[in-house]
């Protein structure tokens, strides 16, 4: 797996400190983390544009992994408690990405009865999941089954592997996979817009 050699404007150490600050209750830390994640997003997006076409998905997969590494991997070393670090980084990622999506949704949704071109179009591929709607559904799932919601947070938002998620939650990888499957089914149903007629 490719590792990032340059860590851009924010060093892993910065990210690590900010994450710690946030987990210690400092809300401003999130404000400082947000642009870092956004930078990474934009960098990813640029690379996507280069390699948009099919056959390049491999490359973009590697890029995604790279993005997570750039954001958090380096910082892992700085933390005494890996599990705590994973949990915090997944939460932060969720907060930032969902806020980002909500802001975009608001931008797109202006005007009550009319949706015009420049406000629309999230289309294709894996883009269909509305992160804001997913966030709502995940909150509902947490009421019913907190651990399953956490598994989704770890894996989907935090980019953690099954093993890492298991470590954070103190359960076996098999349990994580079980939770993942049920959560996936439940969330998909919750978000599916086709209900009985689809």
């Amino acid at each position: 797996m490719p590792r990032a050699t340059d860590s851009g404007s924010a060093t892993g150490r910065d990210v690590s400190l900010l994450l710690r600050a946030w987990s210690d209750g400092d809300p401003r830390a999130l404000d400082q983390l947000t642009p870092i994640v956004y930078d990474e997003l934009r960098r990813l997006a640029r690379r996507y544009l280069r390699g948009e076409r099919k056959g390049h998905s491999l490359q973009t997969t590697a890029l995604v992994n790279e993005a997570y590494l750039r954001l958090v991997d380096h910082a892992r070393m700085e933390w005494q408690n890996r599990a705590h670090f994973f949990a915090v980084s997944a939460q932060v990622m969720r907060r930032i990405l969902v806020d980002h999506a909500r802001r975009r949704n608001i931008k797109r949704g202006r005007g009550l009865h009319h949706v015009s071109l420049d406000e629309a179009t999230i289309v294709g591929g894996e883009r269909s999941t509305d992160l804001a709607a997913l966030d709502d559904a995940l909150t509902l799932l947490a009421e019913r089954d907190p651990r399953k919601a956490q598994v989704v947070e770890m894996r989907f938002f935090g980019g953690l592997s099954v093993e890492e998620s298991a470590e954070v939650l103190g359960v076996s990888p098999v349990t994580v996979m079980r939770d993942w499957r049920t959560a996936k089914a439940w969330l998909y149903r919750e978000l599916s817009s086709e209900s009985s007629n689809g």
Binding site: A45, K54, S57, L58, T121, A132, P173, M177, S193, G198
Partner: protein, 982 residues
């Protein structure tokens, strides 16, 4: 609540551990009648199965993709990191981007030395992490570059730019085959033309020992003058390793593999590549077969929702029957495709030049005589190694001597003419399994075993081969039997012999007049259990005796005997060797001189043998195995004295004396019996198979009198087939549009209102699509399709011969469930906005998609306009049907709820002149059946209450309100199918 959830979770997990086919049964058992639990798990299971790649890509990736769309719409980031125009690369000056090819960005460049324009493909720089692999790639690419062939892209040079290898090649103008395939299946002539070119290119490369390994439509380029060029020889190697290493990082669950990673390629991989085994040139032949299949049918040979499922299909499944999906393709061409797609490389064409020869023979006369293929078959037959198990090999050794004798005495044979499927139709579609068909000597009637309409003990029934007669029950219940099976007509057609079982090891051979009457026991026998015997009895042509399988003494071995009809005397026919389970399923040729039977080596594995008989039906020599038959051949029938048909794993194979057997029919599910029904007056060979069918959606019609009142029982509309959903009557009531997956993927179809003149309207080849709705003028059909992933509304013009779907909703991602305004100027659709599903209205004037005025309305879905200017709709997850006036601003008009007595959401509804027909769910997640809401009386009545139960797949009412069509789902079962061969 928590406990319920835990149980749901547990059951769901256990179900997911079961293979797909067993899930349904297991689920029913696990829930043990707890219908609420079952329906919840079922619902989650369905979601899980649909979810596919949902959540499998990390969130940041999705966010980045969304950003890409925004940015690229604004033009902000267009290819900024890419090679800049004017940049120099060695002797080349970049002139501009050409697009992205198979695995890299492609630029147009100027060769300053030779003053010509070239194409430069830059490969991803991260790949060559290890220099050794890069060297190997260079070696191969150089070798490929050395290939000079008109059907292979000419590579001029290789280089490397900041660690990214690049290739300089001839500059082509045209499009990839993938782009051409977007328009659906291709004309036959073109398919053969392109096919021959590709194969010639492959042959040239293979001769030099170069294998492509990633042949697919994306890698086949068609120039403007119709020349096909194979691209990217040798490049597949380059990316082989990283895939694997990344894959191995993916933990435990195959579902968790990165969805986009290999999906583009995986559909063309050969089984050996899927298994990770070394692949030789025959992998290219497999891939070519898949491409050929796709050119002919317009759909991929192997395509499932996920790459893992696709790979599983490549390993285990045959693609949908090409004769159904590309009826224009000649049987000869279909067989070429089939030969290319054999799972076992040994059974494919062994070289591209053989394949080229076969294809060229077709191109010479597109009338397609099979002779050329046969010639090739003869040429390659020396290379064919029948896929026999060790056990079968032992049998061959045992029987070789006698067999060889017979072989030489029968040879040489004239070249056989192989059967080719011309049509398939259903004879019976009764509830439960109809098995063990047997056709009367005149070919008019078919006897079969069935448990009857009420699921009692299995008995013998007779019906017409045209499926038009009510089945007639022939055998009676007795106090101690366990059911009847294996009917067999006497040669004079007067009597039917059958096997009456008494437990697992005892049976009686019975006989009964074919017209009905007293049953008579011919002989009690002991039987040996074998797997899935499809036949038991075989009459000699003179009617004096019949062959049957029975235990030989106390040997524990099943042996074939001849039973004299007159007195029940038995004589032994075969002598299965020690250690095998024994012989079963005899079939006697029409001349009475050959006996085919199944020799079970173990209870589950078998060989198909042929025994020569003398004029008195005594064995001559030893039985010989049929080449090409595997270890699962279960029954055989003779079409004539030198042509045998047999069933194996859902396929029907044909064998001619002197040649290896080959498949002539591939069904989607297993076969449980085969009967030869002779030739019809036009010489068409008819075969009846008891064929397993998946759960079916069938269309039923209820004739309506006064609103809400039926005038007759529901009638099955068999003309529509058994895979139909979302029916919609055309505005004039003459046609029905519907969704069906009969071509392999869900597509939109239409037919006359009686099911005649079936016509496929789309060839999108995607996993999710449906809900066709006619425009008010009857010219267009709107439907939704996830293409690739998000639902959008498309419209086709059915007056076009091959309609091109036009996307109607450009700015409402996720829009679904279309319907038309009565003036045809708008389409309604709905999408989820956060927690609720909202109705949208989109103008159909699509002249400028960038300025489409979309109206976002209130909560609701599946809206229909009424003739009196109101809008009827339902809500997602909310019981009831709602209505409001369309006058003025509909969004501010008051909403009225119509059907207030339903407790669950409405599943389907249809407007009728004086009310609304609907079906929906009760509070247990079950179904309420069909109801009619009478608007004038404001009350609800149940319609056809006993006939219509359970889940429906849609309903529609004719414009005059006289006919209601609905889709009812029935469980998987075996039915009798009539297969016609030309």
């Amino acid at each position: 609540m928590a406990d319920d959830w835990t149980r749901v979770d547990d059951v769901l997990q256990s179900v997911l551990l079961r293979p797909q086919g067993e899930r349904d049964t297991f689920l029913r058992q696990a829930c043990a009648g707890d219908s609420a639990l079952e329906s919840e798990v079922r619902s989650l299971l369905a979601s899980y199965e649909q979810a596919g790649s949902f959540l499998e890509a990390p969130a940041i990736r999705m966010a980045a993709r969304a950003l890409v769309d925004e940015q690229s719409a604004g033009g902000a980031y267009r290819r900024t990191d890419a090679l800049v125009t004017g940049r120099r690369l060695g002797d080349y000056t970049i002139l501009g981007p050409l697009g992205a090819g198979g695995m890299g960005e492609v630029y147009r460049a100027r060769d300053t030395r030779l003053s010509r324009d070239v194409a430069i493909k830059v490969l991803p720089s991260f790949v060559p992490g290890d220099p050794q692999r890069l060297r190997r790639f260079e070696q191969e690419a150089r070798a490929a570059a050395a290939l000079s062939h008109p059907n292979i892209l000419a590579v001029f040079q290789m280089g490397s730019d900041e660690g990214a290898p690049y290739l300089v090649s001839e500059l082509l103008e045209g499009s990839t085959l993938r782009e051409q395939l977007r328009r659906g299946p291709m004309p036959l002539r073109k398919v053969i033309d392109y096919g021959v070119q590709v194969v010639r290119g492959l042959a040239a490369a293979h001769e030099k020992g170069i294998v492509h390994r990633d042949l697919k439509p994306e890698n086949l380029f068609v120039t403007k003058d119709g020349r096909v060029k194979i691209l990217d020889f040798g490049l597949a190697r380059l990316v082989e390793q990283p895939w694997r290493s990344l894959d191995s990082n993916v933990p435990t669950d195959p579902d968790a593999t990165e969805p986009g990673m290999v999906i583009g390629t995986v559909g063309y991989m050969s089984p050996e590549q899927v298994r990770g085994h070394p692949a030789d040139h025959r992998a290219d032949i497999f891939a070519f077969g898949a491409v050929l299949y796709e050119m002919l049918s317009g759909t991929r040979a192997f395509q499932k929702a996920t790459s893992v499922e696709t790979m599983t299909a490549i390993l285990n499944e045959d693609p949908s029957d090409l004769s159904l999906r590309a009826p224009a393709a000649s049987p000869a061409l279909q067989r070429i495709v089939q030969r290319c797609l054999e799972k076992n490389p040994e059974q494919r064409f062994q070289s591209a030049s053989d394949l080229a020869f076969a294809l060229e023979a077709l191109s010479e006369s597109t009338g397609a005589p099979a002779s050329a293929i046969r010639a090739v078959a003869r040429r390659v037959s020396g290379l064919l190694v029948p896929s026999a198990t060790v056990a079968a090999a032992i049998v061959s050794v045992v029987v070789l001597a006698g067999g060889a004798l017979w072989w030489s005495y029968r040879s040489p044979q004239p070249a056989p003419s192989w059967l080719a499927v011309s049509s398939v139709s259903m004879i019976t579609t009764f509830p439960g399994d109809e098995v063990s068909p047997a056709v009367s000597p005149g070919g008019v009637q078919v006897a079969f075993a069935w448990r009857g309409p009420d699921g009692g003990r299995q008995r013998i029934y007779v019906t017409g081969i045209d499926g038009q007669q009510e089945p007639r029950r022939l055998t009676d219940d007795t106090p101690d039997d366990t059911g009847d099976d294996f009917p067999s007509w006497s040669p004079d057609g007067q009597q039917i012999a059958f096997v009456r079982r008494h437990g697992a090891t005892e049976a009686a051979i019975m006989i009964v007049p074919a017209q009905g009457g007293a049953e008579r026991t011919l002989r009690r026998i002991r039987v040996v259990q074998v797997a899935n015997a499809h036949s038991w009895l075989a009459w000699r042509p003179d009617g004096s005796e019949m062959a049957l399988a029975a235990e030989s003494g106390d040997s524990g071995r099943s042996t074939l005997f001849m039973l004299r009809i007159a007195d029940g005397h038995l004589r032994m026919l075969t002598m299965p060797p020690e250690g095998v389970t024994g012989d079963a399923s005899p079939a006697i040729a029409p001349d009475g001189r050959s006996l085919a039977f199944v020799r079970y080596l173990s209870p589950g594995a078998s060989a198909l043998l042929v025994q020569r008989l003398d004029a008195h039906a005594n064995p001559v020599g030893e039985p010989m195995p049929i080449p090409g038959a595997g270890t699962a051949a279960r029954t055989a029938v003779w079409a004539d004295e030198a042509r045998l048909l047999f069933a194996e794993n859902g396929r029907i194979l044909e064998w001619h004396v002197g040649t290896p057997a080959r498949p002539v029919y591939v069904s989607t599910a297993g076969l449980r019996g085969l009967a030869f029904a002779g030739r019809d007056h036009r010489g068409v060979v008819r075969v009846i198979a008891a064929q397993g069918n998946a759960a079916r959606n069938q269309l039923w019609m209820i004739p309506l009198g006064t609103p809400g009142q039926t005038t007759d029982r529901p009638g099955l509309q068999s003309g529509f087939g058994s895979d139909i959903a979302n029916p919609d009557f055309s505005p004039d009531g003459t046609h029905v549009a519907f969704m069906s997956s009969r071509s392999g993927t869900p597509e939109i179809w239409m037919a006359d209102a009686d099911g005649r003149n079936l016509r496929q309207l789309t060839w999108l080849g995607i996993a999710r699509l449906g809900i066709p709705r006619w425009s008010p003028d009857g010219r267009y059909v709107a439907f939704y399709a996830r293409r690739p992933d998000e639902p959008q509304i498309y419209v086709i013009d059915v007056t076009q011969e091959r309609p091109t779907p036009q996307q109607m909703t450009h700015q409402v991602p996720g829009c679904n469930i279309p319907s038309w305004s009565r003036d045809g100027r708008f389409l309604y659709c709905s999408r989820r906005d956060g927690r609720e599903v909202r109705l949208y209205r989109v103008p159909t004037d699509n002249s400028d998609p960038s300025d489409q005025r979309i109206e976002r309305w209130f909560e609701g879905k599946d809206a229909r306009e009424t003739s009196d200017g109101r809008l009827v709709y339902v809500k997602d997850g909310v019981p009831g049907i709602f209505v409001r006036s369309l006058a003025g601003d509909p969004t501010t008009n008051p909403e009225e709820r119509l059907v207030s007595d339903i407790v669950g959401p409405i599943a389907y509804y249809a407007l009728a002149p004086s009310g609304i027909y609907y079906t929906g769910q009760n509070n247990l997640g079950g179904y309420v059946g069909l109801h009619f809401f009478d608007r004038a009386r404001n009350r609800t009545v149940e319609v056809a209450s006993r006939a219509v139960t359970g889940e429906m797949g849609g309903l529609t009412v004719s414009p005059d309100g006289r006919r209601l069509l609905y889709v009812q789902t029935s469980p998987p079962q075996t039915d009798l199918t009539l297969i016609r061969f030309e």
